[in-house]
Amino acid sequence: MNAKQAFYLGLRAVMPLLAGVAPFGVIYGVVALQSGIPPPAAMAMSSIVFAGSAQFLLAQLVGVGAPPLLTAGAVGLVNLRHALYSASVAPILAHLPRRWKMLLAYLLTDEAYAAAIPHLLVDAGESRSRHAHWILFGSGFGLWAGWQVATLAGVLIGAQLPSDLGLDFALPLTFIAIVVPMIASRALLAAAVTAGAVAVVLAALPYKIGLFIAALAGLAVGAAMTRKAA
């Protein structure tokens, strides 16, 4: 596999997620304008922050005039789970020059990570692992471009766009398609069940912090079971 093929592999893998992300991008654009954020700033936020849930929260908190430090803190909490993705891909990117690492870190969203990770971990043969960063760049760039277009549509066309077609269901469905085939051991199954259950129980916690705690609980249970088996 060469770099170009790896890039297109990542790009193709993220396509189904774009169907689910697009409605969110449109709604974000609408919410941002309703919060009194001028259109250029609303658009710029999709490049500067580039994080779906965090942008929603930022727009809403700006809208209600929340203190800036609290707003920044909330955005940090919402994005805390991305540190897990960072740790997960770090060994794969270790050999790259710093500009590559920074670019891929900037593009490291839930969706880009999810789309790329089965291809990064499974079949990490010599030729593929040498171009693994191109897979991640493909999924990251695809999501970035889709998010910009969706945000722009929300900002320009606004609430007339139909955003309740149920297309957002594509997100959980694609994550299911990615996760289920990866469950190849009892430890992995236990990690999934734990993370899912904790996420449901803690769903009411603010700033999506429940997701982060749930993921940590899943990691802990999975690792504990591996240790017992070993």
Partner: protein
Amino acid sequence: MNLWVLMLVCGLLTFAIRYSFIAAEGHYQPPPWFRRLLPFVPIAALTALVAPELLLMQGELVLGSGNLRLWAGLAAIVVAAVWRNTLLTIGSGFLALFLLQRLAG
């Protein structure tokens, strides 16, 4: 604080979180237990994203027949487990949701 400054701070913070471990790789020796956690990141993090989408309706746990996304999601899980095909899984999930909506409607 100016809106643009706030956005910049939030952007830098987000980037710093995503860059953290990628930047640190090679500059520190993580303990062995840390390495053991990493294989579970995709499954734990993504399941944490999916489970509330399927099990909760407006923040309430709904396990009955009224929660159509749960049953469509379970159908997709079965398809994913048997055929391991992304598009087939997404397609059958949407098809199941559509059929359930027709049945319920």
